[in-house]
């Protein structure tokens, strides 16, 4: 006890108080060393992807989610096959149209020149945005398909032919226009998707034509559409290096 008491008194008498000035100096030095180390490194690919996520306007994802919720609500209210066919195809095209503002953003804002000359160039910026959109949209669509399949008893085959197929074709139109040499604006893409939507509508209305296309053919068409989409995305990324070569203000800026 006496020893413990003595130790306690000794500890109190020897308590160390850091001087404020030294503490501040240590903090400043630590900051300097930290910045010096940070300046030596480049933002990693994952960090870059994360920062791009921060710059995408989330409203378009929210609208896409809202669209799917609205579609689910509509489908749950009606069981008429006719309405199911029409609404899903139109919703598919609309789902893609909601991507267009973000995809065309840097073109509309004329920021591509600075982006192309950066460390993470235009190609990588597009790739990052497409990856983020792809991941989010695949997630939203997966949830929608699973929920619709289980709650509304809609067959996966029907979702494939009525919703996913027209959606992928609309996406092909959109990316085809974006990667084209003519530098068409987003209205052309929106117009293209709407035109496809009308064409799809006319196919679906024609019951005889619709029934004539069997499931294997639908699957084949869907597969071809997905391959075409992949090729168009690849073309977009490759073409981002050649934007200034010819028709995109080739010599017009002089």
């Amino acid at each position: 006890m006496k020893l413990e008491e003595e130790l306690r008194l000794y500890k109190e008498s020897r308590s160390i108080q850091a001087r404020e000035i030294c503490r501040k100096r240590t903090i400043e030095q630590s900051k300097k060393v930290f910045y010096a180390e940070e300046q030596k490194r480049i933002l990693s690919g994952t960090e870059f992807l994360y920062t791009q996520l921060g710059y995408i306007r989330k409203r378009w994802w929210m609208l896409q989610a809202l669209l799917l919720i609205s579609l689910w609500s509509f489908l749950s209210c009606t069981r008429e096959p006719f309405y199911v066919q029409r609404s899903m195809g139109v919703a598919g095209a609309l789902f893609v149209i909601l991507l267009i503002p973000e995809l065309w953003k840097n073109r509309n804002c004329n920021s591509m020149e600075i982006e192309a000359a950066a460390y993470y160039s235009l190609r990588q910026i597009y790739a990052a945005r497409l990856l983020l959109f792809g991941m989010t949209d695949v997630f939203l669509l997966t949830v929608f398909c699973l929920v619709s399949s289980f709650s509304l008893q809609i067959a996966m085959a029907e979702l494939l032919t009525q919703f996913l197929f027209p959606m992928v074709v609309a996406a092909c139109i959109c990316f085809g226009i974006l990667s084209g040499r003519h530098g068409w604006n987003e209205l052309a893409a929106i117009g293209g998707c709407i035109a496809w939507s009308i064409l799809w509508w006319s196919i679906v209305i024609n019951e005889r034509l619709y029934q004539a296309i069997t499931m294997p053919i639908w699957c084949g068409l869907f597969g071809m559409a997905v391959i075409a989409l992949c090729l168009l995305v690849k073309h977009l990324l490759a073409g981002s290096r050649k934007i200034w070569e010819e028709n995109w203000n080739g010599i017009g800026n002089e």
Binding site: K105, C109, N110, E113, I114, A118, I243, E254
Partner: protein, 295 residues
């Protein structure tokens, strides 16, 4: 740091925008002067790897810049003539976005953004949306983004467009300060932007460098080409049809004209001290005999 251009050529179909440039750049400020359509922007875009040369190459310390990819772009700062931004961004957001695509880690980006906002005088407007800025402020934000990554090579295409005289002076001082251990290429129509800060000036016309040298060398090459004379007002149109006139000043006795000509335009004309602007007009002014001979 050395940039070398060897037989650099760029063709768009049948049109040759840049013809066989053979140039070398090290540290310091290079002024690229030329009128619209001279090939300046095409040349600068090739330096920034936005365009690939049709012939020739560009080497950075002996390495082809198109093979260096991100390693070269890491060294680069670029302000295009017509630069855009995402309008919903604030000034701070914009600079942080540029920092992210230039590969700066977040802590460095924040510190650098703060430094640059102070350097270009936009601290008070850091929270303002880019679309709400005046033309001059947008241009300052553009210069700030070009300097974000401490570039070793700074390419500025008409950077002072839209800036008032005070801002142009501020910009000039900023570039001078910045160029101490860097390479800066600056294209402009405004001769005074480069006259006082450029170590070397390139005069570009129809894709070729027609004249290059220090400002002093270029003005000295204009000896016996710049004349001043006092003429009657009615004689001015005739003079304008024959020669390039860079300046006219009416006074009580007549009109004091400054003529750019290879020979003395009149017996009583006196040789004037040439300026860089005279050289610009000599190489790029309208041809004699045009209705627009008065510049």
């Amino acid at each position: 740091m050395e940039l070398e251009m060897n037989n650099l050529t760029k063709k768009f179909g049948d049109f040759t925008a840049v013809k066989q440039l053979n140039l070398s750049m090290t540290r310091g400020v290079y002024g690229l002067l030329g009128k619209n359509g001279a090939g300046k922007t095409t040349f600068m875009r090739m330096l920034c790897t936005l365009l690939t040369p049709t012939e020739g190459n560009i080497l950075c310390d002996g390495r082809d810049i198109f093979k260096m990819e991100g390693e070269y772009r890491k060294l680069l700062g670029y302000l295009p003539q017509d630069f855009g931004f995402y309008p919903e961004f604030t000034v701070r957001d914009y600079l942080l976005y540029i920092a992210s695509i230039k590969g700066l880690p977040p802590a460095v980006a924040k510190k650098r953004t703060k430094e640059l906002l102070a350097a270009v005088g936009l601290e008070k407007y850091a929270g303002r949306k880019m679309k709400k800025l005046s033309g001059g402020m947008k241009r300052r934000a553009g210069i700030a983004q070009a300097m974000m990554n401490h570039p070793k090579i700074l390419i500025l295409d008409e950077p002072t467009a839209g800036l008032d005289p005070n801002e142009r002076i501020r910009f000039r001082n900023l570039i001078s300060e910045f160029s101490e251990d860097r390479l800066v290429l600056l294209s402009t129509h405004i001769v005074s932007d480069v006259e006082y800060i450029a170590n070397d000036i390139w005069l570009m016309n129809e894709g070729e460098i027609v004249r290059q040298g220090t400002p002093k060398q270029i003005t000295e090459s204009m000896k016996q080409k710049v004349w001043e004379c006092l003429v009657e007002k009615r004689a001015v149109p005739l003079l304008a049809r024959q020669y390039k006139i860079s300046n006219m000043k009416a006074d009580t006795q007549g009109v004091q004209v400054r003529v750019i000509a290879g020979e003395k335009p009149a017996e009583y004309a006196k040789e004037a001290v040439p300026s860089l602007e005279d050289a610009f007009l000599y190489y790029f002014g309208e041809e004699a005999g045009d209705n627009h001979g008065i510049l």
